[in-house]
Symmetry: C2
Subunit: 233 residues, 2 copies
């Protein structure tokens, strides 16, 4: 009998998905190989990437204003790369603090930019989401960052964010579990291992016009702009 | 009939390995789950990590002077994180230039430290390995870096390196394909997808006393020292 792991981190994968993967493990799509063995430069693999991006867009109801990227690592790599990609030392960035993952993202951003914490419920041990009327977003911020669902303390933000400045959202532990309007979201990242599949991959959804605001690239492997240009589709 | 992909990048995996993975995909080790589904904090998973490290040490004949780490990404993430972890702006680092991957590593290091190229065959289009007698290693270097096997131009360095300063080696395209003496190697990295398995993981082997030379951590996900401390074994 199969067991179901509902913990944070790696968790249960639907049995039919595992059975499909099992059936195709030695021979995938009549290629004579496992999908893990085909060249990353082959048309076969390009089609996997293209169709996965297309499927994600369809499932999330995302239009052509956004790019879908499959990047390395998890949420930590992303919330570290976001300030590296979008700020310089004098930049102001705004963060909402609603729990452990917010705090980690704030700490990472503080190394590269000036962080304005718009509101926090840390003093009450993260037992409530601060009222939006009390958020003090610096209008000069490069972006506003929040975590839609905090896995440790349990705070969730369901209402869409209305903001004059670009909005960045960590959706690791709620993506694909509910309907979300992406129109007002400029950059969304989600580590795959919580809601999508095995660990090692992060889904990034970025608005094309926000891409144009990328600063000079600091670390080549974090260079989102370059990755978009090299993508097979 | 199975096909064999010998290209650089993802390549053929032994059929018996694929068959084992296929058999265990739904139920692994009587756990009632796929190995992809079990908690990263469970004893079951800790045993996978511990035994994999033990097996790598046995296969490579590495003793207890070295740590074995399984990190995210590929060689690019590693040759970028090496200067971030070991240097400051005024540091000198020495690199041998024998091809495309050497050049990429030199370019990455140049952003964080002063790079001394000890020898290069670039002017002759990388058709020979410069004679070791002509290498000009700066004695004040934090480390010496070389690529054991260059996949594009084909230059390989088989002789062990004798050096007063710590030696770092990119072994992505030759690891586990020949016997290597690790005694004089302080840090070795190898992207898994060339010689070991599917893409997404990098093997890092680091001498414990070299770990002590790590500089203040710059990016949390590149923090090798922290990863070692948190490792299950």
């Amino acid at each position: 009998m199969r067991k179901w792991n509902f913990c944070a981190g790696p968790a249960a994968i639907p049995e039919e998905v595992l059975r499909d993967a099992q059936n195709e493990l030695l021979e995938w799509n009549l290629s004579g190989s496992s999908v893990m063995e085909v060249s990353h430069r082959s048309n076969l693999f390009a089609e996997v990437a293209t169709s996965s991006m297309r499927d994600i867009k369809a499932l999330l109801n995302i239009g052509d204003d956004h790019e879908v990227l499959f990047l390395q690592g998890g949420a930590t790599l992303q919330f570290t790369s976001v300030p590296l990609n979008f700020t310089k030392k004098s930049s102001i960035v705004s963060y909402l603090n609603t729990g452990l993952w917010s705090k980690k993202a704030i700490k990472a951003a503080s190394k590269y930019a000036s962080v304005n914490v718009v509101a926090s419920s840390e003093e009450s041990n993260f037992t409530f989401v601060p009222n939006t009327q009390e958020w003090r977003v610096d209008p000069d911020s490069i972006y506003f960052h929040y975590v839609m669902n905090e896995t440790i303390q349990g705070l969730a933000i369901r209402d869409p964010i209305s903001s004059e400045i670009p909005v960045i959202c960590d959706m690791s532990s709620c993506i694909l579990s509910e309907e979300v309007n992406f129109n007002n979201l400029d950059l969304v990242y989600a580590g795959a291992q919580k809601n999508i599949g095995p660990a090692g991959l992060t889904l990034v959804i970025i608005k094309k016009d926000f891409l144009e605001k990328l600063m000079k690239i600091f670390l080549i492997f974090l260079a989102i702009k370059k990755i978009v240009r090299q993508a097979p589709c």
